[in-house]
Symmetry: C2
Subunit: 315 residues, 2 copies
């Protein structure tokens, strides 16, 4: 396995934001801990995903760059890959179901991606993607189960640990497992004594069960509000998490909303539900983190505010 | 007149947050300028007001501290004075109309202030306040027309100019004029060539008219969404603004909401309507700020999110 997270960071840093680490007196009082939130909602395109996407594009051969990349996603990875590809004049094709939210289609197009629609069934996406790869020889960049994506994602924790030394814990959300895998690699590289805790919605607990039973369970139509965490582990993320993450804990929908409300109301941060999951986990572990130094990756802030502002525009 | 803003800053800095200056590639592209937003929504209690309040409390005599302070406000100043007073074990009494929003009453109490209710008519507040001062010999801390409040407020611009050199413009909102006055004093002290632009809602244009006609017009029941900017200039803020501010410009309600939406959606910052007014002005002046270095004071982020989160809690 090549490439330390440190080297990946040195390579991608000029293309990404060094996001701020935010603190809150109220949060510290509430937890009796020192909490440090790595705010990837302030990252380019609003989520940590750009880190892995840039790394993946940078690692393409010249031949691959000429032909272009492809992925199937309607979430932050679609936008991240589109934006990262645009930095290097590489064509990005994004396969999305016909019923994908309009705002996500538009955002992806705004970042320069070409959206190709497929049917609305789960298998339709992969079929369409394979078809296009056969036709154009595009390189598939998977949203999470890909070493470049994992190591890129790990640079968020890398920056956090560089800035805040001697952390006892780092909390990160887990969906497909790219961010949690990368976080655990960065932590083991820079600060091996720091414990890494994955946090997953109870309603999408496939990673929790997969690690517990040592076999990958697919995530089947989970209806958690944390829409970025509905996907399953892949073979790579499964093994990285199994070997490097200390524990996965579950949080309820109510706990996710409560953490999100804290971030918005008290810390003035616009964070999407998936981005509040790590804080929900941290708050749930109040007893174990007492008097400790605790980091959490706030993964992103892309949430549709159309309804919220419609109210104001009706003024 | 004693006290440079620099000295005030040195005195209060240990009690306040040094708030971050945020930038946005999208904003810079949109304006063709280099924009630097001083984010006082990340300040303690969510707004710049704590700066002036701490300064005012620090400048009390021991005798005054023993007796306590009073103000009439239902907004950020009420909370700021309560919190600042609590730092030094000084009693703060806040006079509020009976119909003040419940969240504001609770927030003020949470910060340690004692809320005393008065009638709902404008003159009721002042009557009740005078009555209490006569009774208890409290020191009145006016929300804006007070030198300590003005100089304290100016420390936000002081930090901005210290961090970001050679600004061509600084934009600040104007309501009672405390923040704009302090900003103009800080700019003249540190960077006299920088122009200071006050931004006011069209629907509460009393400061604009007051400076134009060289006489103070009261603000009469303005119905702007920017609830922090509904108050009038006082004799001190009027003269400081007249002598030190280069221009006051007006923005519409739509422009305020648009700026607020940009801050939330693109920059992931929870900002209250009054806090978005300076950016609304900056965006309106697009032509004059092209290729310039421009600062703006984002004054606060206290907005009631109860309705927004009620939706999520209904999940």
């Amino acid at each position: 396995m090549c490439c330390k997270i440190k080297e990946v960071h040195a390579k991608i840093r000029q293309y990404i934001n060094k996001t701020p680490v935010m603190t809150s007196t109220t949060l510290n009082k509430l937890t009796k801990a020192e909490c440090y939130l790595k705010c990837e909602n302030f990252q380019k395109m609003g989520a940590f995903k750009i880190r892995g996407a840039v790394n993946a594009i940078l690692n393409l051969t010249e031949e691959q760059k000429k032909k272009g990349v492809i992925t199937h996603s309607s979430g932050n990875h679609a936008q991240a890959l589109s934006l990262a590809a645009s930095f290097f004049n590489v064509k990005a094709t994004i396969v999305m179901p016909e019923n994908a939210p309009k705002v996500k289609i538009e955002a992806t197009r705004n970042y320069g991606g070409e959206v190709i629609f497929c049917g609305n069934k789960p298998l339709d996406r992969e079929k369409k993607t394979e078809e296009l790869i056969k036709q154009h020889d595009y390189t598939l960049i998977h949203p999470s189960n890909n070493w470049d994506i994992i190591r890129g994602a790990g640079t968020a924790a890398y920056e956090l640990i560089h800035e805040i030394q001697d952390l006892d814990y780092v909390f990160a959300p887990v969906g497909g497992g790219g961010l949690l895998s990368g976080t655990s690699l960065a932590v083991k590289e820079l600060s091996p004594k720091t414990k890494v805790i994955g946090v997953e919605p109870e309603k999408a607990d496939d990673a929790f069960r997969s690690i517990r039973d040592n076999k990958i369970y697919p995530s089947i139509n989970p209806d958690t509000i944390a829409d970025g965490l509905r996907t399953s582990l892949g073979n790579i993320t499964f093994s990285v998490i199994r070997d490097n993450v200390d524990k996965i804990i579950l949080v309820t929908e109510e706990e996710i909303v409560k953490a999100m409300e804290f971030l918005w109301s008290r810390m003035k941060l616009v964070v999407e539900p998936s981005g509040a999951v790590s804080l929900a986990g941290l708050l749930k572990q109040k007893e174990s983190i007492k008097n400790k130094r605790v980091g959490a990756i706030i993964s992103g802030g892309n949430i549709d505010l159309t309804d919220f502002f419609a109210k104001f525009k009706g003024l």
